[in-house]
Amino acid sequence: MSVINLSKEGRIKTFQKRGMAFVVIMFITLAVVLICRLSYLMICKADYYGEIARELHERERAVKAKRGVLYDRNGTVIAGNVSVSTISVIHSQIKEPERVIEVLSKELGLDAEYVRKRVEKISSREKVKSNVPKETSDIIREYNLAGVMVDEDYKRYYPYSTLASHVIGFTGADNQGIIGLEVTYDKYLQGQDGAILTLTNARGIEIENAAENRKEPVNGKGLLLSLDINIQQYAEQAAKKVLEQKQAKAASIIVMNPQNGEIYAMVTTPEFDLNNPFSAPETDSDGTQNGDYENKSGKKLSSDELNAMWRNPCISNTYEPGSTFKIITAAAALEENVVKLDDTFSCPGFITVEDRKIRCHKAGGHGAETFKQGIMNSCNPVFITIGSRLGVDNFYKYLNRFKVLNKTGVDLPGEAGTIIHKQKNVGAVELATVSFGQSFQITPLRLMATASSIVNGGHTVIPHFGVGIVDDETDRIEKIQYESESGVVSEEVSQTMRSLLEAVVSEGTGKKAYVEGFHIGGKTGTSEKLPRRNGKYIASCLGFAPAENPTVMALVLVDEPQGIYYGGTIAAPVIGELFENILPYLGIEKDSAVSLEE
């Protein structure tokens, strides 16, 4: 037993006991520090980490907000919503897989193999088909199949499918506007999605009996537009007709109220189907046919082709306005008092500016003529002369005052700006060409807005579609305000311009825009596209009525017509035809005196 050492040597000494005590005290100290750390985490940081943890545990099932409806000026719905459903299957809940496959493939018109793949896939949730019409999903719901989920949803729907497609625009999968008014007014239209929050485990499976947290969606606000579907349809028909007759590349028509800038119609042919914006327009479509909301397997377009199709040339393309711009030159000259109506000019068929010989469109020249006749004849030398009388500084002063150098501020995305010489680079030749509407480019809408401010008594207008924001719940309309500056030209000059332009239609180059019984003012234009002498033209005509107090103005652009390309021959009749339809519709009465006179 001597092995067990009980001698003094084997006993625990005091310093060893102290050592143990030291170790224990150190550990107790550390434990206290850790408890402090825990308290800090669990009390001070509880909210911070707790919030993160809750976000981690909660799954949000979005409840979509209804997108606001677009109304035309008569209150007709031109962009609404339809209820659609998404059908999906939950693998773990399916009890009769064969029956599920049979029912779904039958009701949804899908290939049985395609459905089988989805039913047999082991996943928490597998989508079988989205955008299913409500009737179909109701039938499927009545089967009451375990593991088949029907989720309701809204989808944007355009009842007139192709009507004003470039203007209205369409939305994407996330309910966001992609082009057109849907983009500009997105923040009003979108509303706020609601949500159902449920607790889930790490694999996203909902925990039973956990309390649901519900957030109601806020529906989007409606939008009242100045667009009029009837005028738009008239305009579309007129554009389509001229497009086909002249085998032109494109035809655009804008109809606007020159007093306040409300746009009644904006047409660019060809239009595309808003319910199917990613497929090419069907060539034989009648334009009003109701597209169904199934995705047609149309021709796939590249993104460049799509962008070209969606582009709105009325605001995004610039062109040389040609003779229609003479309205601006004339108004500037009259306002600056450098010309009087009975000033006489002489046109030998050309005019020499510095070393350049600039031709008039009439080969032999117009001979001797007054200023008024010069406008009616759209005589280039007359305008070159008054342009040089104005001088560069004055000319640019008026371009600024007429806002020709600015964008119009229309409520559509993608507006192009004016392309023009810098004032300091303008010499006599440049000034001469600008005077009759060449060597610079503006958008069609810019021309209209400026022409409006000249004939409406001299106040600027911002062309627009949006008139008011509609609260569908209270039916209250909040008006959208647009700025207007007065004093662009004096009332007197405005009056003179109206009668001059009326003379253009009644006796001058715009004769074909004349409608019996109405006072119509206007100006035609023919622009040669760049590069010059390739035989491509844009024929245009601007018209307004009634001439003495215009409430409607229209601009017609025919891009690359075949054969005769003069604005007075091709575009002016379109204005005439259009006005013949829409003037009575707008309640503008015939003046019997005019009829008698003729």
Binding site: V3, I4, N5, L6, E9, G10, R11, I12, K13, F15, Q16, K17, G19, M20, A21, F22, V23, V24, F27, I28, L30, A31, L34, I35, R37, L38, S39, L41, M42, I43, K45, A46, Y48, Y49, G50, I52, A53, R54, L56, H57, L199, N201, A202, R203, I207
Partner: protein, 379 residues
């Protein structure tokens, strides 16, 4: 002398209060293992979708451990340093050699889990030899010091102990750095307790920190990355487990979400029943539960300390000191890791974390402490 020994046996001091405390902690551990593991167990095929899969395995290990604890506590711990029969070899030496052999065997034939070979399969039961090494190191260090206590006051004597222990510790370190660190600290702690020259350990600790720091700065990317994770716990992609643990701790609040109500155990914290189990305790039982658990460990440590200072001899005292350091160190380190106080290392929470070998060996160690308590002469 003979009558004196009889007297000791009659009035032996067997620390029943500590025995009850240990059994209580272990039982609490089983409850928490079930709470933390049932979701994982019932959702995975490899566990037969059996919610009690981990609970069952752990219960067997606990029963085995309690059995071992009771047996060990009834034997005189001094039998360990008696020569066996006529051989010149002692049990404590056998255990020391066995732990080295097992550690070498595991390096070659061990089962690989999470990229490290730490498991041995014997008779269908997996166990971790590194846990054996812990008890072997505690016992053999105590034995070496007990044989020559004065040598601990000299550098050479300390070096001798260190060299003996370096072999098993390095063997563990190859595959499991954090366990080797724990074993090393236990050994150093025992040496510290037995030595008269405490200041020497202060300097040594400073030196170790310095060398460790250099090693971290100049060492491999694996450990440097650990520090990166530690510093950017909320953003680092590999900080997932600790980050999720922090969410669990913080969402517990004062009183917790209630037993079994943890959200974070539902797959958010990977293997929540292992080293991360303290986070589930915090989430379900709140700050009060967490403080209660830490307090239980402090009481346990206090009991072991009382036994250690009253031990009949230095060998028993040092065994108790070793076990004390083992338990306390793991508790402190584990909580430090889950609260992101120190960079992550795999240290389990004694008696509570899932792990059969660990809980069995810990219970056996408690048996040793009880055995020492059994030899205390009451005066």
């Amino acid at each position: 002398m003979k009558s004196g020994r009889k007297k000791v046996k009659q009035q032996s001091y067997y620390d029943y209060s500590m025995l009850i405390l240990v059994i209580f902690i272990v039982a609490f551990g089983l409850v928490m293992v079930y709470s933390a593991s049932s979701y994982t167990a019932q959702t995975k095929q490899e566990y037969n979708y059996d919610a009690a899969y981990f609970l069952k395995k752990q219960t067997w290990a606990v029963l085995l451990g309690i059995f071992a604890m009771l047996i060990v506590s009834k034997f005189d711990y001094r039998l360990l340093i008696r020569p066996i029969g006529h051989l010149k070899i002692r049990l404590v030496t056998c255990l020391y050699l066995l732990s080295i052999v097992l550690q070498i065997v595991v390096l070659f034939t061990g089962k690989e889990l999470n990229g490290s070979k730490r498991w041995l399969n014997i008779a269908g039961m997996g166990f971790q030899p590194s846990e054996i090494t812990k008890i072997a190191v505690i016992l053999y260090t105590s034995y070496l010091i007990y044989k020559a206590p004065r040598a601990m006051n000299k550098g050479l004597g300390v070096m001798r102990v260190f060299i003996f222990m370096l072999v098993p510790i390095m063997a563990v370190a190859i595959e499991n750095f954090s366990t080797a660190l724990v074993i090393g600290v236990i050994m150093a702690g025992i040496c510290f307790v037995s030595s008269k020259k405490k200041w020497f350990y202060g300097i040594a600790a400073l030196l170790c920190t310095g060398i460790g720091g250099l090693f971290i700065v100049l060492g491999g990317a694996y450990r440097v990355e650990r520090f990166e994770i530690w510093r950017n716990i909320e953003t680092h992609e590999k900080g997932h487990q600790i980050r999720q643990g922090m969410y669990a701790i913080a969402s517990g609040g004062m009183f917790g979400t209630g037993l079994g109500q943890s959200m974070q155990k539902l797959g958010f914290i990977p293997e929540a029943f292992n080293d991360m189990i303290f986070t589930i305790i915090c989430e379900e039982l709140g700050l009060f539960g967490a403080i209660a658990v830490v307090s239980m460990f402090l009481i346990l440590i206090w009991r072991i300390f009382i036994i250690a200072v009253n031990a009949p001899d230095l060998f028993g005292g040092l065994i108790c000191a070793g076990v004390l350091i083992h338990i306390a160190l793991q508790v402190i380190l584990n909580i430090c890791v889950v609260t992101n106080f120190v960079p992550a290392t795999g240290v389990s929470l004694p008696f509570i974390s899932y792990g059969g070998t660990s809980v069995s060996i810990l219970l056996a160690e408690m048996g040793l402490v009880l055995s020492v308590s059994n030899r205390i002469e009451s005066r």
